[in-house]
């Protein structure tokens, strides 16, 4: 009977309800983490901005200085690309939008004849790029949730030596910038050498320097690279939480909608079953009554009366 369908629907609704509980919990966790992550960005940003300003000032100070960090790289020089995505899925388009920009950038470099080194952060990104047959030179996982300065330092370590020795000409980073809670954007920026837009910030005072400029730069560059990576990691973490929060909110809303629809279908099925039953009973009773009204002793209409009886 129709009761079978009702049972199936009831089971489906229960299963969706339990999924909804999970997505709702993830949504709440993500939104609480966004707040923390935002505070960390706000804490780190002044440091990175001051350090960028200091580097730009140092570069702008009179008295020419030739240093790898202050010059445009050779057009064919190999590029190191740092790709920052997440360890986990269930975050909507977050991972993929980073990977798409990274792939485009890789293709662009290769078509212009530059070799690329890949430094990949996040399990999802590593898996994806390896699956696509790309060589991942360095990979880091388990640092995207709550990145520390130490994490940034570990990444910087694998970049600095090859850059200083000239093995790679420039370093780029592809990551998600956290503009606001409702807006994040994947960006590709240059970490080293000093990008033109940053060099323009320099204030060309006649600085007194201790120690001299070249030595200052030697110490400053690793710090600048580390701290910019740190900020990129923090912004990526906040963006991932925001993306997950949105994805999980959508999932929860969809579950709600599905539950409403299924409930409606289930109730109709139940009502249909009840109606059919009532009709059967009423029909049976009517047949019996008619059978009794005809001459006693005569059998009623075949079928109806007997079934109801």
């Amino acid at each position: 009977m129709a009761g079978g369908q009702e049972r199936i629907l009831r089971r489906r609704i229960r299963s969706i309800q339990s999924t909804r509980k999970t997505t709702r919990a993830m949504e709440l966790i993500a939104s609480s983490r966004i707040v923390r992550a935002q505070q960390r960005i706000a804490g780190a940003r002044p440091y990175v901005e001051r350090l960028e300003q200091l580097t730009a000032d140092l570069a702008a100070a009179p008295g020419g200085l030739t240093h790898r960090f202050l010059q445009e790289p050779e057009p064919q020089a190999p590029v190191a690309m740092v790709v920052v995505a997440g360890d986990r899925g269930l975050s909507g388009p977050y991972n993929f939008s980073v990977l798409r920009v990274a792939e485009q950038a890789l293709a662009a470099h290769q078509s212009e004849g530059r070799r690329c080194q890949l430094i990949v952060i996040g399990r999802k990104a590593v898996g994806y790029l390896r699956f696509r047959g790309m060589r991942v030179d360095h990979s880091f996982t388990q640092m995207t949730d709550r990145p520390t300065y130490e994490d940034a330092r570990r990444i910087a370590e694998v970049i600095e030596a090859p850059f200083m020795s000239g093995e790679i000409g420039s370093v780029e980073v592809v990551s998600t910038r956290f503009l606001s809670i409702g807006s994040q954007r994947v960006e590709r920026r240059r970490l080293a050498p000093l990008a033109e837009d940053m060099a323009e910030m320099g204030r060309p005072f006649d600085y007194e320097m201790e120690p001299e400029r070249a030595q200052l730069l030697e110490v400053l560059i690793p710090l600048l690279v580390e701290s910019r990576l740190f900020l990129a990691l923090l912004e990526a973490a906040a963006s991932e939480h925001a993306a997950r929060q949105r994805a999980m909110k959508a999932a929860t809303d969809n579950a709600d909608e599905l539950i409403t629809t299924l409930r409606r279908v289930m109730n109709r099925a139940r009502q249909d079953a009840i109606t059919t039953e009532i009709m059967d009973i009423v029909g049976g009773a009517e047949a019996l009554r008619q059978a009794a009204a005809v001459e006693p002793g005569e059998p009623g209409l075949p079928g109806d009366g007997r079934r109801a009886g």
């Binding site: 200091l54 005072f205 120690p211 710090l223």
Partner: protein, 123 residues
Amino acid sequence: MATFPFELVTPERTLLEGEAEMVTLRSAEGDIAFLAGHVPYIGAVQTCLVRVHRGGGQVDAAAVHGGFVEVADGRLTLLAGVAEVEGEVDVERARRALSNAESSGDEAARRRAEVRLELAGAS
């Protein structure tokens, strides 16, 4: 006394900021004091105790473990990868670090621990 804007910034947060009459620290070449109107300056900072004279006898101190200092446009910016202000130092840990550093002969670690203890007023 004339004052100038000052800030001590770390990757985690801005530790100290505001107006200062004088800031003393140890640069690559030795101890240096900054007053208002200092010429533009960029320097590396050694592990040291930074003192910020706020005026009226008030002095803020911070242990800075290496970094940079810049004076430009009359503003002093002190950047440090790691820094602590008073009340943040774990004295027990610093003492342990000091004895470890002394036995292992790690000069940089010894200096860091010393500066920490000096800040905590427990040296």
